[in-house]
Symmetry: none
Subunit: 305 residues, 5 copies
Amino acid sequence: MKMTPRVRKILSWYESDNPGTKANLARILMQGRLGGSGRLVILPVDQGFEHGPARSFAPNPAAYDPHYHFQLALDAGLSAYASVLGMIEAGADTYAGQIPLILKLNSCNSLATAKDQAITGSVQDALRLGCSAIGFTIYPSADAAFDQMEEIRDLAEEAKDCGLAVVIWSYPRGAISKDGETAIDITAYAAHMAALLGAHIIKVKPPTAHLEQPEAKKVYEKEKIEIATLAQRVAHVVQASFAGRRIVVFSGGAAKDLAGIYDEARAIRDGGGNGSIIGRNTFQRPRAEALAMLDEIVKIYQGKA
Amino acid sequence: MKMTPRVRKILSWYESDNPGTKANLARILMQGRLGGSGRLVILPVDQGFEHGPARSFAPNPAAYDPHYHFQLALDAGLSAYASVLGMIEAGADTYAGQIPLILKLNSCNSLATAKDQAITGSVQDALRLGCSAIGFTIYPSADAAFDQMEEIRDLAEEAKDCGLAVVIWSYPRGAISKDGETAIDITAYAAHMAALLGAHIIKVKPPTAHLEQPEAKKVYEKEKIEIATLAQRVAHVVQASFAGRRIVVFSGGAAKDLAGIYDEARAIRDGGGNGSIIGRNTFQRPRAEALAMLDEIVKIYQGKA
Amino acid sequence: MKMTPRVRKILSWYESDNPGTKANLARILMQGRLGGSGRLVILPVDQGFEHGPARSFAPNPAAYDPHYHFQLALDAGLSAYASVLGMIEAGADTYAGQIPLILKLNSCNSLATAKDQAITGSVQDALRLGCSAIGFTIYPSADAAFDQMEEIRDLAEEAKDCGLAVVIWSYPRGAISKDGETAIDITAYAAHMAALLGAHIIKVKPPTAHLEQPEAKKVYEKEKIEIATLAQRVAHVVQASFAGRRIVVFSGGAAKDLAGIYDEARAIRDGGGNGSIIGRNTFQRPRAEALAMLDEIVKIYQGKA
Amino acid sequence: MKMTPRVRKILSWYESDNPGTKANLARILMQGRLGGSGRLVILPVDQGFEHGPARSFAPNPAAYDPHYHFQLALDAGLSAYASVLGMIEAGADTYAGQIPLILKLNSCNSLATAKDQAITGSVQDALRLGCSAIGFTIYPSADAAFDQMEEIRDLAEEAKDCGLAVVIWSYPRGAISKDGETAIDITAYAAHMAALLGAHIIKVKPPTAHLEQPEAKKVYEKEKIEIATLAQRVAHVVQASFAGRRIVVFSGGAAKDLAGIYDEARAIRDGGGNGSIIGRNTFQRPRAEALAMLDEIVKIYQGKA
Amino acid sequence: MKMTPRVRKILSWYESDNPGTKANLARILMQGRLGGSGRLVILPVDQGFEHGPARSFAPNPAAYDPHYHFQLALDAGLSAYASVLGMIEAGADTYAGQIPLILKLNSCNSLATAKDQAITGSVQDALRLGCSAIGFTIYPSADAAFDQMEEIRDLAEEAKDCGLAVVIWSYPRGAISKDGETAIDITAYAAHMAALLGAHIIKVKPPTAHLEQPEAKKVYEKEKIEIATLAQRVAHVVQASFAGRRIVVFSGGAAKDLAGIYDEARAIRDGGGNGSIIGRNTFQRPRAEALAMLDEIVKIYQGKA
């Protein structure tokens, strides 16, 4: 497919990166049904690590098979598939060259005793498995946050040097309230920190209108920052990501009904977000339903729904 | 521009450094409207990391864009622009060779649970991004202070070996009172420690006349050290920085009115400080006002205002 | 000085390079009296190594002193000073930050028994001495040519990684005739090989209308490539250097009269060459005469003479 | 100066060390007015780090300048000058080769929240700055003591490999009483541990007759170890330092009157100690008074006073 | 001894070197009876390697003992002692700190089948043995010359990094005539190449008035370079060594009579050479005669004979 002006524009934001990294970003941005539009939908499957296999896959047992997810992402015309080492190893050969892969390099699990993640993959793994990017989660406000930032600093330098792109999942938790984890001030801050850490693609949760930090609250009110609708909040997060110079995608979070999912996608689209990264809501549905849902989401980002 | 005797003199203080480091110091000292005078004004933009994007940029939303700051520093004729990895990556190509860059290698954030900073950049990043110096913050009196000192020791040795300069932000906090953080005894001590750690450029906050440590208080009173005016306190901090053999710049701190900013600059000038590093007071103003303010500050350091 | 559209355009050619390398190219392109014009005049002093000190400096004994050349390049408003390790070490501290330096990393000598050069400096030397670029000579057609190409490949990779620029002196000699060494087909070929090896700045000799290779001769004649005038030949060499996407400078060669030097500079200018690298013709003249000559050459490149 | 039998004897104690380390010990032992006598007086200036600049230098403001101390040590004919990275960097070039330097590799500060020190220099720093030895402080009885011992083990191994000497400041503190810090049993123990850690030169405080550890007290009394006079206690510490096979110097501690200083030096001399390391008592006096005092101390160690 | 203005001046020539290297140069320049004068006499003992033990030491069998040479250099008040690994290892402990040592890192031998030298020591050897400098021989014009230059490039970079000085023996041989090996044009060229390779101290042979290279001959005649007397030729070699910015010493060569040796020393002195490096003429004489001869040479350099 010919490179579009929109993708060309997006690549120009990454002005300090080498052509290898840009080529990998281009692969993601030119893949699937949204290829060329500057929008993207990514299928992430790390919930097995986070919540255990039954909680993740029992509702749709076909999803226990790693190939299921590669095939689903491909059939739905998505932009990339993100998962952890073992899942990628189990399908990277069969699907080599068919869909951009994002190797998630750290993972938490619900048996863990600390709010942290283990590093479970390497940049070298990403290269040998043909991945386009590495992924990494940070927990701003957790005790482990500084360690995580230093880990992704090391890994990102190595990845960029090898022409890979870097995706940061920025999920605040720890010394903030439960509501604060998705508060608009905290989410914008989380996106900004990911950008400052050198992420090419930033993943945050759809923010609520809650304001967590008193010092921030004052500013939001004084400066009359518009955060009433999700689209406005998305626009604010995009602004916080270097005035839109970084790709920002939003996760789906816990399973919800289809209308809710579509509304969220429309708000992300209208707020100028680059797209969705949607896991559980996808693979916990029977394949046909999942494909239908993804078809609708793609149409939303195409402006057709 | 021809090297001035004043800059030549300043470079001679760094007698153990290689010509690469001196060339990078010279680039900063010869840049912009104060080039050649031995005075400097640096634009630092790390507040997004420290306080979040809205608190930093909402008062002047154009500042969400990383290019804004490069352009502002350039248009105002400043000496250097200091920021963290992502911000520098987002503009280093567009502005290559136009203004000396200082890559801040560690960063704190207001969500953090410890009085520390994460290392978010490397010496190799500074080289590939064309920076003239690395920057690093230490928090003397924090539990993390010894670790921070050992981190900057490692990074400074590597940076000097590669011909880069080293800027240390020395901000006491932790086991001292809030007033103590800017007390004259503590500030002079903080500057002295930065010098002892091998900093080429030292950044401290403008000190108050408060004396924090009882043992120090006795000495200040017995030796009749003059600390009544800010100019006297600046002179004392400069003295504590190897009798003026190290470049010392003072931060602006929280936003204040213009008269206050100008008075502070005059006191820094009159006390023999080398200049200002002024972030929030600059980029939180509309661009035209910021340029007017910086024009006045430059004139103050030129002795014209 | 403000970056000019011309320099911005030139920097855009080096699209795979990191901002560090571009900053160093910008430093060279923005330096001196031709700063910003896209033209450059470089002072190279490696003849002492190549021909011995007396043949190089006896006509103007002041030139035995390494500081002489730094000062001359500075006073004449040139773009950069290129020399070998010892000469750069002997002045890099005194002139730190005053003029871009190119550290020549290999050197031949007229006592040598092979058409080769010894590696006499490192990328680390270039960093510690504050140089903007490394320089390297290859002898296409010499027995050592493949070794030289592999040496500069290694060194160039390391230099680019550290944000330095790469200058290749491409001087064919060996299995070709004496006339062939400056033949237009060979010179264009030499420039093209330097470009292919990843040079940012290419240095070749002004080509004659001679055609050395029979196979090439046929094409030049069949395609009616215009090579009658030096300006046409320069234009052809520039074309051979990626259609003008690489900076090409021409050496002065053996001492000649002023009219000859100026005519050559005019032809380089009119053919679209980026400038001159002029050693012996400069430092073998008394300083006043050299400055007058360089003033005229600068004016020629400025279009004023 | 010709090597004396006394220095030859001292060097013979370090029988496992390489000639490089012995040459550096010899440089210290042959330097200055006590050169050749086996006695030494060292000027240490790390109080700026430990107590802050004003408490250290305000009583004699000339001492804010790093060059002051190099010159003072030289003019007084002392054996070596010991200081931390920044102070040594600020004068090592001007005073290159004039006086043996000891680079203190760790430093504490009075703002710190832990009884520890930060590592602030490296063996490579010591080599590039032309130092003869590294210095390191351990706090036996502090929580950090094992870490400190492991740090100096690593650094000492590296230093000895490069032909440098190792000086250990052994200052007990932590889980002992204030009086215990200078108790004779503890001081002898501290000296012995420094010797066991491989120190070439051991620095302890002049011990009091206090006995801190009950188990030790029993032995001192049973064995009738003579500790009534300072000379006797010095002799005991020297004995504890491998029966005099290691160089032991004693610090001066807080400023006191001249008579007290001279008495202490006489006791050190009479007890067979190798000399004094005297900082604050030196540089907090006006230069003329300091020189007069050091002249007297030197004469004491020469047996002339 | 107090640093003299002359030595301070000489050290200032080495402006790119670290204080460690300057301290080691200072040690050589401040040692012995010529200490402080800027003149030096070095004892080199590598003839055993080059010509075999009997040819070297049988005329004075005491010289078979490595200690003999250390003691001789010391007793004669020389500036430094230069030898190869085994000889230095055999005395470095006994004479630690008594005289600066130069570890010759490569050696040829008269059994060899190539005009080359083997590398027989390392920079790490120099450090562990307490040496102040490394020494290295190059044979400009030999087939091995480029390899030798690349070897000393590597070693010199490592040595300078560790604060050692670099001495290059530059002895042309190979593709030139026997007379050419000491021709004035070749000797000046050899000295210049050593300077360009980054030598701190250059060692060449006293040149004859012979001119070897036709191209050079023309220049010497045209420019009327004065080479009639040895003093004039020495002055020319010094000029070729960066206009006197590098220390140049001259070897004694084959044994000759005393008058010849003294005349040579006077010519070196009068031509502005820094001194002599005199081996065979020293150790092949009985000790008393050698001491008398060295006494006279020292007096010559002191201007007293």
